[in-house]
């Protein structure tokens, strides 16, 4: 069971993520969008969306730091366990609470504004379930852990090592099996969410438009010769010779 959950499932989820992204890029670029609903409602979105997104960006950053940087490195530069956790929990709490408040507003808006409710996609329901679930479980796990309710569990000696072992394709699944339940659930929701990214509006996160900063203002393009009348005949549609 541990092997299935912590040794196989992560790979399935990442495989779905990669395959889905490839499918979107290859066959459904038209569906690759934020599906902005701001024309329907602006007031709540203008509070909720920046709160959620900026919070989320720091949360993501925090995860990367917490999971990817080994404890020995921070120890080596002289950051004690105590200072590390103080920093992690304080910045994490601010970011987490901002993201949670933001998503709260966004979900409230989804349900309460009739035009937005009607514009909600089927994939949104699934996506929101797992996004909300992952966020609530993540916050719960952190809260339980920092109040000592999980008996002084140090995720940097458990989950982080398991997470890094995924990259070497020798997952240390026993480590995850021993983690507290809240963390386990958080990670299950998280990996399901990863799998959902390319199939929902979340794909937009892969097209963060940083190139805007570097390109000339006006873009010129020539007509695509493949679309004009003198293109090659398509297979099966060749003219009579």
């Amino acid at each position: 069971m541990d092997l299935l959950l912590w040794g196989v499932l992560p790979y399935v989820s990442i495989a779905l993520l990669i395959a889905g992204t490839f499918w979107r890029a290859r066959y459904d670029r038209f569906g690759w969008t934020t599906h902005s609903s701001q024309v329907h409602e602006s007031r709540l979105l203008r509070i909720g969306s920046p709160l959620f997104h900026f919070g989320m960006l720091f949360v993501v950053l925090g995860h990367v730091v917490g999971l990817v940087i080994p404890q020995s490195w921070t120890d080596a530069v002289g950051v004690s366990d105590h200072t590390y956790h103080l920093l992690a929990v304080s910045t994490g709490a601010v970011a987490g609470v901002a993201a949670a408040a933001g998503i709260g507003i966004l979900v409230f808006r989804r349900f309460k504004v009739p035009a937005v409710r009607r514009a909600t996609l089927r994939s949104d329901h699934l996506m929101y379930t797992f996004l909300l679930g992952a966020m609530v479980l993540g916050l719960t796990a952190t809260m339980l852990n920092s109040t000592g309710a999980t008996g002084d569990y140090n995720y940097r000696e458990g989950i982080s090592i398991w997470f890094r072992s995924l990259f070497t394709f020798q997952p240390d699944y026993h480590l995850m099996g021993a983690a507290p339940l809240a963390f386990q659930l958080h990670i299950l929701f998280g990996f399901t969410l990863f799998a959902l990214i390319p199939y929902s509006r979340l794909v937009h996160m892969f097209s963060a438009p940083v190139q805007y900063l570097f390109r000339p203002y006006v873009v010129y393009r020539r007509r695509d010769p493949k679309l004009t009348a003198n293109r090659e005949d398509r297979r099966g549609w060749e003219r009579v010779r």
């Binding site: 038209f30 902005s36 701001q38 024309v39 909720g48 514009a119 393009r221």
Partner: protein, 515 residues
């Protein structure tokens, strides 16, 4: 000199009858889909009025177009690139659906399905966005058509607000008596498009061949910054697909030498389409001149004379084909903009270098003269009235020349002179060359302008070269109807007059001058 070609449009506002045929045919062709209920690539506004979306001209609020920084550079009015990326999560200057209108339909089914009874069944209005009944429809497309509700709505016109400070309450009195005209609007296919410049994905682009500005639907990611960027509010957000859409200048038609749908179906025959050649190297500088009053002349200076051999050589060197250069020579748009200088750009102060220009309406002036019991066709009376009627002139100047009344006056004088000159001709009186020379033209030029503006034959109004003759021929060759095309058999219809029956030629540009 880097020569580029652009398909441009001119609209003669005197001849718009406000019938909205253009809007309807455009909508039928392009935006009759889910998600584009409120989208009008072409719309016709009554002025003075608020326009569509409401008060779109108020750039203090919507932050469209460009502004000139103190160092003389251009920057998007909504802010620099970093700032805009920071605002991508929620765009603070995005019009909401209520700034357009809540699209609705009616429960028609109820009319048929209602059980027999004493009461007549009714079809209640239902919002297309929420699916819920609407109690009271409070705004719609052209709600203030023909000055409907003008006492309430017209004072909210941003131009009226602006010039009211100068002329006081007088404006109210005068426009209610004599002053109303229509302004049909499509995308301006600008030379310096702010929409393209504000697209974070780089999905929007200007086509090199004909200047048409398009949104690549496969690259748009729905950041909806272009909607703010366009000062004319001519990019719309399709709320169903999550992508931006805009007027395409009917490029599939333009490519085969046909006019746009709005132009083709214009009942007033007031639209003109043709090629403009311009110097792409000059555009950035011309858009950044310091004084807003200089924007109209500076854009005029970007345009190149297609009869100048040096221009033709440079155009050839830039890869512009013979067909296109020929079309540029016969361009009615070039004549109206540059030769006779009777067309003016819409809101040049937005600094996007728009390419749909307008011949300002003389009718408010003519009507005022006629209403006062004088001869509305007399050159002297008209000239006097143009000088005396400050309000239409100032209003038109805010609309077309960033507030500079002189170019507007000059255009109105030229139009008035043409009117007076041609009346004598039509009455069989002697040609009065002095009327023409008073506005710097010759009698022959007056007649040419008259032919272009008043007679306005189909082939004079639209001179559209096919994207590449080869393209068009290949299309005609592969046309499934080919020999049996019903249009061909109808004989001398529209532009295909000189074509043998049974055959449709897709390059539709017989010469005006050679005709």
């Amino acid at each position: 000199m880097r020569v580029m070609a652009q398909i441009a449009m001119v609209m003669n506002l005197d001849k718009c009858i406000g019938c909205h045929t253009c809007s309807v045919t455009c909508k039928q062709a392009w935006t009759n889909r889910q998600g584009t209920e409120y989208v009008w690539f072409n719309n016709v506004e009554t002025l003075p009025g608020q326009g569509y979306p409401r008060r779109w001209e108020d750039q203090e609020k919507w932050k469209g177009g460009w502004e000139r920084t103190r160092s003389g550079k251009l920057r998007l009015r909504a802010g620099g690139r970093l700032k805009r990326l920071g605002q991508v999560f929620a765009n603070p200057e995005l019009p909401e659906i209520d700034d357009y209108y809540q699209p609705w339909t009616y429960e028609y089914k109820n009319l048929i399905d209602a059980p027999a009874g004493d009461d007549l069944p009714v079809a209640r209005p239902v919002s297309s966005l929420t699916g819920e009944p609407v109690d009271k429809i409070e705004w719609g497309p052209n709600w203030d058509d023909n000055l409907g509700g003008a006492p309430e709505n017209a004072p909210l016109d941003p131009i009226v607000e602006k010039i009211r400070d100068e002329v006081g309450e007088k404006i109210r009195f005068e426009f209610e008596q004599s002053f109303m005209f229509y302004l049909p609007r499509v995308c301006e296919h600008c030379l310096n498009p702010a929409c393209v410049s504000s697209c974070p994905s780089g999905a929007m682009y200007k086509r090199e061949e004909d200047g048409v500005v398009l949104v690549d639907q496969d690259r748009c990611r729905g950041w909806r910054m272009c909607v703010t960027g366009c000062p004319y509010k001519k990019v719309y957000f399709n709320h169903a697909t999550g992508k931006a859409e805009k007027c395409t200048f009917c490029f599939p038609r333009i490519e085969v030498g046909l006019p746009t749908v709005c132009a083709e179906t214009c009942v007033g025959r007031m639209r003109y389409l043709g090629v403009m050649l311009y110097d792409a190297d000059k555009v950035a500088e011309a858009a950044a001149v310091e004084d807003e009053h200089d924007l109209y002349p500076s854009q005029l200076e970007c345009f190149l004379d297609p009869n100048d051999p040096a221009v033709v050589a440079a155009a050839r060197a830039s890869g512009i084909t013979h067909d296109w250069i020929e079309a540029a020579r016969r361009s009615p748009v070039y004549d109206l903009i540059a030769t006779y200088q009777v067309a003016l750009p819409l809101h040049p102060e937005y600094r996007t270098m728009p390419m749909v220009w307008y011949v300002p309406p003389l009718s408010p002036v003519v009507e005022a003269v006629a209403a006062s019991g004088h001869d509305g066709e007399d050159a002297g009376n008209l000239f006097g009235a143009i000088d005396a009627l400050r309000i239409p002139v100032e209003y038109l100047a805010e609309l077309l020349t960033a507030g500079d009344p002189y170019p507007v006056e000059a255009v109105l004088r030229r139009m008035a002179a043409m009117r007076a000159y041609m009346r004598r001709v039509n009455l069989g009186e002697e040609r009065e060359e002095s009327i023409a020379s008073a506005v710097g033209l010759t009698g022959a030029e007056m007649e040419d302008l008259f032919r272009l503006l008043a007679i306005a034959k189909y082939e004079d109004r639209y001179v559209v070269p096919s994207a590449a003759r080869a393209d068009a021929e290949a299309l005609a060759g592969s046309h499934p109807l080919d020999e049996a095309c019903p249009v061909g058999e109808a004989g001398p219809v529209g532009p295909s007059t000189e074509v043998a029956p049974g055959r449709v030629l897709l390059n539709l540009s017989p010469t005006r001058r050679s005709a």
